[in-house]
């Protein structure tokens, strides 16, 4: 079976449209990253420090009631979130100290909802010093991974391809930030893990395309850059899509059936896989074309 027969799509020619789309995505992503840096985004308590608890009640409970109950007992600032299946409530208090807040929440609910018993399914308390350390470690990790990838690609391909691959990878990471920022999803350690995973994985597609371009560049020195690139992308289009599809299938099942703990994590992976496929065709390759054309123009000028 074949999904696509022989295609002749002018990918490179559509670069003006794709660049505009990517620029918008990247700008939103950059805003997201800046907000994360400022701590203004929806930060997980692993970065901000604080307390988060997941409670399972025996009867349904409304967020409004829960909030009133907490207010009455002196907890003014808490993020509440309902988990659909099984009367679960997520309570998040940023920046609070370790120890007391979780006890306070439990006492408050015990008092106000005497007829609705609950169990603490999980509770996480993180002191501010740990959050700081984690934030620094994560930044170092992200920087090192990107550096490692860039160096590897620059070594395996020439510099122009390295630039294309790097920009495409950064584009993918920013897109993940953009989606999470727009959806006001929590930026936590698992999200960063997903971003770094995609940074590594999204290159698969880019490498597949680049390999073919390089092969065709060696074979065919006559055609214009644009034709060679377009032909190469069309030739490998079906594998670009199929490889992404298999990972997409796996990530979708995690997203749908993996449970609330990794729900957002799988969402990040899904976004990453889709954007990664798009960027290998519409971001990485056109950038290389531009760089190659510019280099050629320079050569002819000097010649």
């Amino acid at each position: 079976m074949e999904l696509l027969g022989k295609t002749r799509i002018d990918f490179i020619g559509k670069r003006n449209i794709s660049f505009i789309i990517s620029a918008i995505i990247s700008i939103i992503g950059i805003i997201g990253v800046i907000q994360v840096g400022r701590g203004a985004a929806n930060m997980g308590i692993d970065f901000s420090g604080g307390t988060s608890m997941q409670l399972k009640f025996s009867k349904p409970i409304s967020i409004a009631d829960a909030r009133t109950a907490l207010h009455k007992n002196g907890i003014a600032k808490a993020d509440l979130q309902e988990i659909k299946d099984g009367n679960k409530l997520l309570v998040k208090m940023a920046g609070a100290a370790v120890g007391k807040p979780s006890e306070m929440v439990q006492t408050a609910f015990k008092k106000e909802f005497a007829d609705n018993a609950f169990t603490v399914e999980s509770s996480t308390e993180i002191g501010p010093s740990i959050g700081d350390k984690l934030r620094k470690d994560t930044m170092v990790a992200a920087f090192l991974s990107l550096l490692g990838i860039i160096m590897y690609i620059a070594w395996r391909f020439d510099f122009k391809f390295g630039v294309g691959a790097t920009l495409a990878t950064m584009h993918d990471c920013l897109a993940m930030f953009a989606v999470f920022y727009l959806m006001n999803k929590e930026i936590n350690l698992l999200f960063i893990t997903a971003v770094l995973t995609i940074a590594g994985y999204s290159l698969t597609d880019t490498v597949v395309v680049f390999d073919r371009i390089r092969e065709n560049l060696h074979k065919n020195l006559k055609g214009s850059m644009k034709t060679i690139f377009n032909d190469s992308i069309n030739e490998v289009l079906s594998r670009t899509i199929v490889t992404s599809l298999t990972v997409f299938l796996a990530a979708v099942s995690l997203f749908l059936f993996g449970g609330e703990v990794i729900h957002d994590f799988s969402l990040a992976l899904l976004v990453g896989v889709i954007v990664g496929t798009y960027s290998s065709v519409f971001v990485a390759s056109p950038i290389v074309v531009i760089l190659e054309d510019r280099a050629l123009a320079k050569e002819t000028k000097t010649a």
Binding site: L189, G200, L249, G259
Partner: protein, 530 residues
């Protein structure tokens, strides 16, 4: 069959056998008796997020340990000077790194200076200076000693915490030092986390101090050698807490480090639990002396600066045993006995991270993770079979091998599987067929060029090789970085991911190739099912 195919098959067979061997301890709850000592026993551990439990990071207040040792130096100097009949006005710790002495005359000061030089050679002495007509000097602990003391405090705290946890009874706890002054404790499957946290985090410094009946606690004028502490008592019926202030001598008569044992006992008269303690010989002697000299007076049993009880000494107590009674439940008495037996922490600890996952959520995560994994595998298998027919099935076989090898290696390494780790495995299901997709697409191209199945196959594998290498290495780079910097669940993810990527290289380049070779080696196959 070509020779090369032969040894490749053997290699795969060996790996399959090894994987099953290493997985046996994980899969069977009880190993058969003939499972010898040479066979592997390590198994895949479940992370705290999967089996439930508590992960704590504690910070040892090492500064307090230094201050504590300076307090000891001050007390010791007081005793020595008293015994040598050198008169002094005041000796006390000053700030975080000094002991200051105030003496009456220059003559004594010279003697004291000499004495200190002999006794505490590593301390830096200041020259004497005048302080309101008295002769004063300070003793400063040097930086290196302070550092040693801090280091030792963390080490001691680690040991003490380990003792307490052992006695509390948690299976497979992990207690590790991390960084300069952090201690990481993992308590898998623990039922009552709050009780464990209270037990571990308690300083448990026990002092016996004489009550100063001559000073009224409300006077607000407490002399320097005394302090105001509070006795808390909880009414067992109403639960109301009352605090009674009591003035006690600052200096302890006896401290908890002179204990050899502490046990819960039940009072036969009131059926009330209490903690029976035993002193070592020095403690017994001191206790004997103190009680003999103070019959009719009250002494306070002080635990972490709270008065536990302040009974009247009715008679001289020799023999070195005593009891601490109070409003105990059996649990609180047992916990007190544990912390007294395990000894006090050399410095207070503060819990700076506490991640607790209940057992129900853990089980739920396992179920959902496995379910999602199964669906993921199914989707990919069906897709590959439909899209690439028989060849797709070979890729699926490679994927199954991949998972088997991965589980086998995780077991062999005794690695910890976390929920993100399961996610990584599911993701790898998708990634592991990717290499085959790249190869198959190449083969299809070669076939379109009119090549025979055999040569199309070889060309496909050869030309796809570099592409596959490149794409795997980039993933491996991030996985390695995640492993280096990640903690807990994220580390589990990185372990699964990096192992999976390496194994995937093997199965996709060797495993599936061999299967094709088996079918195609004669060169008689006219059409390839791809």
């Amino acid at each position: 069959m070509p020779k090369e195919t032969g040894w490749r098959i053997s290699l795969i067979a060996v790996f399959v056998a090894l994987s099953f061997l290493y997985l046996t301890p994980t899969l069977s709850s009880k190993l058969p008796s003939w499972w010898g000592s040479l066979l592997p026993k390590d198994k895949i551990h479940l992370g705290l997020d999967l089996q439930g439990g508590t992960h704590l990071v504690m910070e040892v207040d090492t500064q307090k340990a230094v201050e504590g040792s300076l307090d000891l130096v001050a007390t010791d100097l007081e005793d020595t000077l008293n015994s040598k009949q050198l008169r002094f006005k005041h000796i006390a710790r000053n700030g975080s790194d000094k002991v200051s002495l105030v003496l009456y005359e220059k003559g004594t000061a010279d003697a004291v200076q000499k004495l200190i030089k002999d006794k505490y050679p590593s301390y830096e002495q200041s020259p004497t200076f005048d302080e309101g007509g008295f002769v004063a000097m300070t003793l400063r602990v040097n930086e290196k000693d302070a550092q040693d003391r801090k280091d030792k405090a963390v080490q001691q705290a680690l040991e003490t915490i380990r003792n307490r946890i052992d006695q509390f009874g948690v299976s497979e706890p992990t207690i590790q030092r991390e960084g300069i002054n952090h201690i990481v404790v993992q308590l898998p499957g623990i039922k009552d986390p709050q009780r464990a946290i209270d037990l571990i985090g308690r300083t448990a410094r026990l002092d016996f101090k004489m009550v100063r009946e001559d000073i009224s606690p409300t006077s607000g004028n407490i002399p320097e050698d005394a302090e105001l502490l509070k006795e808390k008592s909880v009414d067992s019926k109403t639960g109301a807490v009352t605090e009674i202030p009591i003035v006690v001598q600052k200096k302890s008569m006896i401290t908890g480090d002179l204990l050899t044992d502490a046990q819960v006992r039940i009072d036969s008269q009131f059926n009330q639990p209490y903690v029976g303690i035993e002193f070592n010989s020095l403690g017994a002697k001191l206790f004997d002396q103190v009680t003999a000299a103070n019959v009719g007076k009250r002494f306070a049993i002080v635990l972490d600066n709270n008065i536990h009880s302040a009974p009247v000494i009715r008679e001289r107590i020799s023999g070195g045993s005593a009891q601490i009674s109070g409003n105990f439940t059996e649990k609180t008495a047992a916990d007190l006995a544990i912390v007294l037996r395990a000894g006090a922490l050399p410095a207070p600890v503060k819990i700076i991270q506490n991640v607790t996952v209940g057992p129900s959520l853990g089980q739920d995560s396992i179920n959902k993770g496995l379910y999602a994994g199964l669906i993921g595998v199914l989707l990919v298998v069906v897709f590959m079979a439909v899209y690439y027919k028989l060849s797709g099935m070979i890729a699926n076989l490679g994927m199954v091998l991949n998972i088997l090898f991965l589980m086998g290696s995780l077991a062999a390494l005794g690695a910890t599987l976390t929920l993100p780790g399961i996610a990584a495995i599911v993701l790898l299901v998708g990634m592991s067929v990717d290499s085959n997709v790249i190869i198959f697409e190449r083969i299809r191209e070669e076939l379109k060029l009119g090549k025979s199945p055999k040569s199309a196959l070889d060309a496909g594998y050869d030309k796809a090789f570099l592409t596959i290498m490149d794409s795997h290495i980039t993933t491996l780079i991030t996985a390695a970085v995640l492993f280096q910097f990640g903690t807990g669940p994220v580390k589990g993810f990185a372990v699964s991911l990096s192992l999976g990527v390496i194994i995937n290289l093997f199965t996709s380049l060797i495993g599936t190739k061999v299967t094709f070779d088996l079918f195609l080696h004669k060169g008689t196959v006219k059409k390839m099912s791809i």
